[in-house]
Structure formats: structure tokens, C-alpha cells
């Protein structure tokens, strides 16, 4: 009886690992992605079921399991339902931090109360689990706070001293980890918890907001490592294999993110924030440095649009913040009804993390084939009449191509300066993430339309309708 039950649980475990692998694989193809996500969720359910069959919890354990499940499940459900698509990066960071916290708590629990019969392997695993779990947690929370705009990149974090501080913290953690097996529930444990938490903060805080997606992806990989370490702590092979899989896949994903953003992992982690070196943090709405800015009203912009045959929209971070994707879609529909050829130029890092803009425009029902990736759209700009840049900045800066002294030099950008006419919709002349001026704004064919992306787009809609564009739409 027990044998067959254990055999059954083992078979379920195997199925779970297989489905999990298929799930991760399927998530990287557009057609299979949604099914694959469900498959991975099913695998997770199977893994839990297999474990419950194996350990057969007693009534007291069931009570606490129910409590934890109710709290975590309900909170997860509410967060997933309520969070707006624009806030996706910080949501992923928050979820990830909680995963790290879970591994940390398990390791602390075992170290404090259950280390009596732990062998050296379990004790080393506890140290690893605490270290990685705490870094994942504090790093993710800092990343979330930065993405939410609760935290800036303070100038003092950019001094070289930070490497010294972080190395000292790492040494402290190493010493504590070495001492931990001698006294599992004592001072070394708390030194390790404190040291790793501070190290997570110290490493993440100096990194600029634009690089956060890479950081989140890396921390996601860490939380896989933390899970695998927790697997060694509690002796679960399933947890080890799943954690290792996520950890390794996360590393590859991090590499993919770095490539998409044209950054190297080393420069993200140790290079500090772009343009924020030497304590002088750029940005913050400073208007110094621009001398030849032309600004225009929505009315003038609408007239240019009405005459155009080919229009390209370049949506960016500002569009996401203003939640203006629906207004943009409406404007595009109106222009299409007028016979204008409309497309969207999507920079790999448009929005707030790689691929984020695709999600936002999908939410607004923009047809997939109108989203053009950078390599496809760049040759099209010279025959484009009007480009409207919506809250994007660094990704359209021509300095990245022709100014070797610019910190952006070498970054692939959308070559909107090739178009006949460019309108830049922006709230102010404040700098982008890189904290530098944008040469595009001063070019003769460029005009600035100041205002919130959503307000400007709605203004354009009104103007276009009063110009008689899309009559049928007005009657509706």
C-alpha cells in the first residue's frame, strides 16, 4: 500500500517536471505561450499534490496550510486582477521578492528550530538559501520601489566607494556562512540575514531605472537558485530540479534582456546608472541646454496629420505612464479611415521593460502586424511623412548614431530624424533615463507638442474631427 502510494507520488513528480519543462519552452513561442503558461501552472499543482500525497499532513498541519494558502492565494488573485498593465514591471519585481522571502523563511525556520539532526549538507544549504533568498527579496523590493518611482538613484550611490561597501558586506556574509554550521540558530544566522539583505540593497540601489528589467530578470534567476537551495534544505529532489531549471533559464532570459537593451550584464551590475555618474544625477525636468526648440499646438499637428500619407507612431514610456494606449488606437483608426497608412515603431525597450509596449498596445487592440520592430521600421522612415513620438526620448536620440562622446553612443535607436516631419509629444523638456539632451528636439523638422500624452492625443482627435476627418466617426 505505502509502496504503491510512494510510487504514485513519484510518478506525479516526474510528470510535474516534464510539464514544467514543456511550459517554460512553450512560453517562448507566441502561438503556444498561453497554453504553456497553463501547463506550467498545472505542473505546479501536480507537484504540490504529489508532495501532499507523500507527506500526508496531519490535521494541525492542514490547518496551517489552509491559513497560508488562503492568505497568499487571495492576495495573489487580487493583485493579478487589479494591477494595471502599465505597472507590470514592478508587479513582477514584487512577486519575485516574495518568492525569495519564502525561501528565506524556510531556511530560517529550519536553522532556528529544526537543525538538531541536520547534516553538514543541510547546514551549507541553509546558508546558501538564506543568502540568495535575502538578496532576492531586498533586491526585488528596491527594484519595485524604483520602478514605482518611490526611490531615486541617489547621487552618493554612484561613488566608487559603493564597491568597497558591497565587497565588505559580501565578506561579512561569507564569514557568517562559514560560522553558521557551528551554531545554526545563533548570531551567524542573523549576521547572514542582515548582511545579505543589505547586500541586495547595495547592489540594486546604484542601478538606474532603465536597467531594472535586467535586474529583475537576474533576481528571478536567483529566486530559482534560492528554491533549489531550499530543496537541499528540506531534501526535495523535485524542488532541486525545478529550482535549477528556473535558475538556469533565468540566466538565459537575462542574457536575452541584455541583448534587447544593448547592455552587457557587467556594465548593468557594476557600471552604475547611465549619465548619473559623479553624483550629478540628470533628469528632473531641467530645461538647460536647449536653444532651438520649436513648439506647436495640437491644431498644427492635426493639420500635418491630415495631409500625411504615411504616419508612424513611436510610443514610449510616457505613453505607458499616461495610460494613453486607447486614445492612440482611436487616433490611428480615425487616420486609417481617412486613408492614411499607419504603423507603430516599437523599440525593444519601449515602455518600461522589454516587450512591455507590445502588451500595452495589445490591450488596446492594435493589430499585431502594425507593430514594426526597429530593424523593419528604420528603412521606412525616409518615406514617412509624419512621425509622432509619444513620451519616448532616449530611443529616438540621433546622438546614439552620430555623437561618439554621448553616453548613448552605440545604442540602437529608431531613426525618426530621417522622416519629413517629427512631432514630439512630451510633458516637458526633462531628460530621459539617460539624463542627457536629445538632439532630435532641436532639429528643423521637429516640433514639440507639450502636454500629457493622453490629453494631446484626445486634443488631436477633436481637431481632426473638426477638420472633417472620418465623418462617419463623428456621426456615431
Amino acid at each position: 500500500m505505502t509502496f504503491s502510494m510512494d510510487f504514485f507520488a513519484g510518478a506525479i513528480d516526474l510528470a510535474a517536471v516534464l510539464l514544467l519543462a514543456l511550459g517554460i519552452k512553450g512560453l517562448s513561442k507566441v502561438r503556444s505561450a498561453r497554453g504553456a503558461n497553463g501547463l506550467a501552472a498545472l505542473a505546479m499543482g501536480l507537484a504540490v499534490l504529489g508532495l501532499l500525497i507523500e507527506i500526508r499532513p496531519d490535521p494541525i498541519a492542514w490547518l496551517w496550510i489552509a491559513a497560508g494558502t488562503a492568505a497568499g492565494g487571495l492576495a495573489g488573485l487580487l493583485t493579478a486582477r487589479r494591477v494595471p498593465m502599465t505597472a507590470m514591471p514592478e508587479t513582477v519585481a514584487l512577486f519575485n521578492g516574495c518568492g525569495g522571502m519564502a525561501s528565506l523563511l524556510v531556511a530560517i525556520g529550519v536553522a532556528l528550530f529544526d537543525a538538531g539532526d541536520a547534516d553538514i549538507v543541510a547546514l551549507v544549504s541553509i546558508a546558501v538559501s538564506v543568502f540568495v533568498g535575502a538578496i532576492t527579496f531586498s533586491g526585488s523590493i528596491v527594484a519595485m520601489a524604483k520602478l514605482q518611482g518611490w526611490l531615486d538613484t541617489p547621487g552618493w550611490t554612484q561613488s566608487r566607494l559603493r564597491h568597497g561597501v558591497n565587497i565588505s558586506l559580501a565578506v561579512l556574509c561569507l564569514v557568517a556562512a562559514v560560522l553558521l554550521p557551528g551554531d545554526p540558530g545563533g548570531l551567524p544566522l542573523w549576521l547572514l540575514v542582515g548582511g545579505s539583505t543589505l547586500l541586495g540593497i547595495g547592489v540594486t540601489l546604484p542601478i538606474g531605472g532603465a536597467d531594472m528589467p535586467v535586474v529583475i530578470s537576474l533576481l528571478n534567476s536567483y529566486s530559482g537558485v534560492a528554491a533549489a537551495a531550499a530543496g537541499f534544505v528540506v531534501g526535495s529532489q523535485l524542488l532541486i530540479v525545478a529550482g535549477a531549471m528556473v535558475g538556469a533559464a533565468g540566466l538565459i532570459l537575462t542574457q536575452v534582456m541584455c541583448t534587447a537593451m544593448n547592455r552587457s550584464l557587467v556594465s548593468v551590475l557594476f557600471g552604475g546608472a547611465l549619465g548619473a555618474s559623479g553624483g550629478a544625477v540628470g533628469g528632473g525636468g531641467s530645461e538647460a541646454g536647449y536653444t532651438r526648440i520649436t513648439s506647436c499646438s495640437a491644431e498644427e499637428c492635426a493639420m500635418a496629420l491630415e495631409q500625411a500619407e504615411r504616419v508612424v507612431f513611436v510610443p514610449g514610456y510616457g505613453l505607458a505612464v499616461a495610460q494613453a494606449q486607447h486614445s492612440l488606437r482611436e487616433l490611428a483608426k480615425l487616420l486609417e479611415a481617412h486613408g492614411v497608412e499607419v504603423s507603430y515603431a516599437i523599440h525593444p525597450v519601449a515602455g518600461r521593460m522589454p516587450g512591455h509596449m507590445n502588451v500595452l498596445l495589445a490591450e488596446a487592440d492594435v493589430p499585431y502586424e502594425q507593430l514594426l520592430e526597429m530593424d523593419l521600421v528604420n528603412p521606412e522612415f525616409p518615406r514617412t511623412d509624419v512621425v509622432i513620438v509619444l513620451g519616448a526620448n532616449d530611443v529616438v536620440n540621433p546622438q546614439a548614431k552620430n555623437d561618439p562622446t554621448s553616453p548613448l553612443y552605440g545604442m540602437p535607436v529608431l531613426e525618426v530624424d530621417q522622416a519629413r516631419q517629427v512631432f514630439v509629444v512630451k510633458r516637458s523638456l526633462g531628460a530621459g533615463y539617460a539624463g542627457i539632451n536629445n538632439a532630435l528636439f532641436e532639429m528643423p523638422q521637429t516640433a514639440m507638442v507639450f502636454g500629457d500624452a493622453k490629453a494631446v492625443l484626445n486634443g488631436l482627435l477633436t481637431e481632426l474631427r473638426s477638420l472633417g476627418v472620418g465623418k462617419a466617426k463623428v456621426a456615431a
Binding site: 498561453r34 496550510i65 497568499g72 528556473v246
Partner: protein, 97 residues
């Protein structure tokens, strides 16, 4: 010792599998893939459950276990649902074509 070496083999093979799973990813899927992978890393629920079972009637350990279960499940449930929400929007468009 054999359990340790077995576990290390599992670790090694799992890592190698993970390295092979993700190849070229279309930009559209970067965000959903990240949030999906993140949901899977909540597999730590297994450790939380084991801890709770192992605790017997030791209340502090039960509390820690339940807390950790809550955090891990928040990661798992929230992660999978939010990924599904994103992917559902791509699906809807593909169908309407």
C-alpha cells in the same frame, strides 16, 4: 552520501535542461516570459509545505511555515494569473483575424 550525490546530479541535469529551454524569444513575449518564469520560481511552496509537515506541533515553526507558504503562493498564483492576463490579449487578436 548517496543521497547527496544523487541530489547533485539532479541539480546538474536540471540546470543543463534550463539552459536549453529558452532559445530565441520574440520581443512580444519578453514581458510575459519573465513573469511566467517568475511564477515558476515560486515552486518554493514545496519547501514551505514540507516545513509545515515537519513542524509537528511546534508553533513558531508552523507560523514560519505558513508565512513562507503565503509568500510563495502569492508569487505562484499572482504570477500565473497575471501572465495569463497578458497572453490572453495576444490570443484575442489572433482569433479575430
Amino acid at each position: 552520501m548517496s543521497l547527496l550525490s544523487q541530489s547533485l546530479w539532479v541539480l546538474l541535469l536540471g540546470s543543463l535542461l534550463g539552459l536549453e529551454l529558452i532559445g530565441k524569444v520574440p520581443p512580444t513575449l519578453h514581458t510575459p516570459l519573465m513573469s511566467g518564469a517568475n511564477a515558476i520560481s515560486g515552486i518554493t511552496v514545496l519547501a514551505s509545505l514540507t516545513l509545515i509537515q515537519h513542524a509537528g506541533d511546534h508553533t513558531p515553526l508552523l507560523v514560519l511555515g505558513a508565512l513562507s507558504l503565503g509568500f510563495a503562493l502569492y508569487n505562484v498564483i499572482g504570477g500565473f494569473l497575471v501572465t495569463d492576463r497578458m497572453l490572453a490579449m495576444f490570443r484575442r487578436k489572433a482569433d479575430s483575424r
